[in-house]
Symmetry: C2
Subunit: 431 residues, 2 copies
């Protein structure tokens, strides 16, 4: 071959990282592009938002992950468009990059179902910045409550609304309740922190709708024992700075709203001009390539592919993204090897999702797990959840730091990451 | 006594925290007011700015420190004015608080010597937010350099200017140089990270001007061995988005400027209407009270008091602040006890500063120390520096986390805290 083949991977999430790892030794040049400079361990992001973990424990600079891989070049840039016919991408920095293979692993973004203005009131949880903003709002509400004399004002400050009872919403609501009732218990002098209300709102008739009904029941019981008010079959009609209006007509005065209700494929997917689902996911062939574009693959949450075993779409969870990324990386490597040896490309196999089960934690010693058709909860599920999450965290340093912080918290009920960073200049020039 | 006496402490830095600790068992109501919700271990803040430590490792929620002290009430609020005659303070939230004793421990702020507009170009290092902003600028400059084709543009991105060669400036410049030459070495593909320039600018004729000339020499040698360009007898004439103009006429194109040159007493001190130094510090009596206002004390960096042993002002360092805070707390406690037992107040003693020595670190195994008249450097000074800083860090959790991160870094040259947080919404609505 006259030149070493070039592979562009868009997105440094689970799928993108695993794809590049699987391409080790493929004798290719690989360019990994991400808007952020770090891989983020999304499943633990809610723990940053709830002050259990420091942000740096669950993020790894992408460059550091591939520092030793001289075949990998990392660009912190944003892909503005993909040109499938030309196999090229245009970047926000103005550069245009051509490739032999493109792997789109851009993931999902939060959507507000046509109410984009809600975003200013109800941050969602997608980035480190989002998590720190939610933490700031939550901790600041308690600080504000300590300064207030009016009961109604104080109870508004101490009302926290989480919208959407999927795993993120459930984990967030449980952690808010634990923070209020346990961690902060001794720290305020003018009110009882257990008077704080945590309200979890879900449009469907159960929490964790993608889990089995038994797990949903267990999770709801756990949440309620922690003090969370669970409102099912309830939609949000409107929201503003002061309150959320619900479909049952109630108006809930609140200081802090978190949006965990809707996601859709990142908008870059639209530039492929191929079939997409209503949720903006890209409908791919069974080998995860884009129909009519065999050298363009889609992996991770933004890919829509039907699992032949369950006849349902492969779910948008980390293990599926990891499997897809690895699958695509291996497929490309096989083809490059064949070409290099002047053999015909092997037939591509179909992606098969291996469901490893589902895990969600609600609080200390409270979790639900579904593994190999078995359902369990309580301490065993909680412990399994912790072990699995440590195992999948990237980087030994992050694993050790996270274990240490969890251990400390488990023993002391302590969540020391609850600092509110305020810029110096906000205090300036008062003289 | 008809009511339990009320003590207001302004500032949750070293002096404020130590004062409240010393007041344990004084049978008083104590209100501790700070604009931030956390105590910050300032001596290690530059390590957050240079990605060695996570922000949460060097900050402790003030409430958590005093959770068990039911006599202490913590308010996250800003004092707008102090009324010495009425012994009252007015808060930004609108409240007015009266007290039997007021302890002002508000610390210092950065000043730009009449060039306030420089602050937008050259952040100083006073808060967690400042540190994260400096870290963002530094890491982003390397990311930008990887995207640039023009050599001049790239070398501007890779030029870092630190203004002021006191301990903070020296430690910062050394850490920037180590980051560029060691930590980031393998991670960029389009340039050699050791081409990055780190320039340290100092108006006086040596670095660390408050140290002995021998230590200054040693620190300069260490800095230069690490690759820092040290410019002495040099002032900054002007700066903008693109460059710094120096007093020797040179214009240095740079992406990142850090201000470590000037500090002054927090402006709240002016509302006391008592004598202040040019630097805005409050001139206090030898018992640290404000002349003519025996029940108003000043402690920490904002206090100006002459040390009778050296005949020089007590320096603005953490051990001095700790000693002053403790001294004031004990003095107040003694007086309250006397009053409670219907004894006359004991005569107040004069504050005596016990100089524990000076320590500054320049890089791995490089530090200077001055202890009990002896000067040493290299590995012993480095080790001592690490031990002392761990010892003074508040909270066991912070100590363990910091030790662990240091150990990891020492073994691996790794600084994993170099994530750039970007908000999700900055990437929105490109569709």
């Amino acid at each position: 071959m006259s030149h070493s083949p070039h592979i562009v991977v868009i997105g440094g999430g689970f799928a993108g990282i695993e794809c590049v790892k699987a391409l080790r030794g493929a004798n290719a040049r690989i360019t990994l592009i991400d808007r952020q400079n770090h891989h983020l361990f999304q499943p633990l992001l809610y723990q940053v938002a709830t002050a259990a973990l420091s942000a740096t424990s669950i993020a790894a600079p992408i460059r550091e992950v591939f520092a030793k891989r001289k075949d990998v070049s990392v660009l912190m840039d944003e892909v503005r468009s993909i040109h499938p016919e030309m196999r090229a991408v245009n970047l926000a920095s103005g550069r245009r990059i051509e490739a032999d293979y493109i792997v789109l692993a851009a993931g999902l973004r939060s959507v507000y179902f046509g109410n984009d203005e809600w975003e200013t009131h109800a941050p969602s949880l997608k980035s480190i910045s989002d998590a720190i903003e939610i933490r700031r709002k939550f901790v600041s509400a308690f600080e504000a409550a300590e300064l207030l004399d009016d009961d109604a004002d104080r109870s508004r400050q101490l009302t926290f609304v989480v919208i959407g009872a999927g795993p993120t919403g459930v984990e967030m609501a449980g952690a808010f309740a634990e923070l209020s009732r346990k961690t902060l218990r001794d720290e305020y002098r003018r009110f009882d922190t257990s008077d704080a209300r945590v309200i979890l709102i879900e449009g469907q008739d159960r929490v964790l709708p993608t889990y089995s009904p038994g797990s949903s029941e267990q999770a709801k019981r756990d949440l309620e024992e922690l003090g969370v008010e669970v409102m099912l079959n309830t939609l949000v009609e409107d929201m503003d700075d002061m309150a959320v209006t619900l479909s049952d007509g109630n108006r809930v005065a609140t200081s802090t709203i978190v949006w965990a209700a809707g996601v859709a494929g990142e908008s870059i997917g639209s530039t492929l001009n191929s079939e997409r689902t209503k949720g903006g996911k890209i409908v791919v062939s069974d080998d995860l390539s884009v129909p009519d574009h065999p050298n363009i693959f889609v992996a991770g949450d933004i890919a829509h592919v039907i699992d032949p075993k369950s006849n349902a779409p492969v779910p948008g969870v980390a293990p599926a993204a990891i499997q897809m990324g690895r699958f695509v990386g291996r497929a490309i490597k096989r083809e490059l090897n064949a070409t290099r040896n002047n053999r015909p490309s092997p037939d591509r196999s179909a992606f098969v999702y291996r469901d490893k089960g589902s895990l969600a934690t609600i609080g200390r010693n409270r979790a639900v797990a579904e593994l190999a058709g078995r359902r369990f909860s309580g301490y065993p599920a909680f412990l399994l959840w912790a072990i699995v999450h440590i195992y999948f965290l990237i980087g030994y340093r992050n694993r050790i730091m996270t274990m240490l912080q969890w251990f400390w918290q488990y023993v002391h009920y302590d969540r020391s990451a609850r600092i509110i960073p305020t810029k110096s200049y906000e205090f300036r020039d008062k003289e």
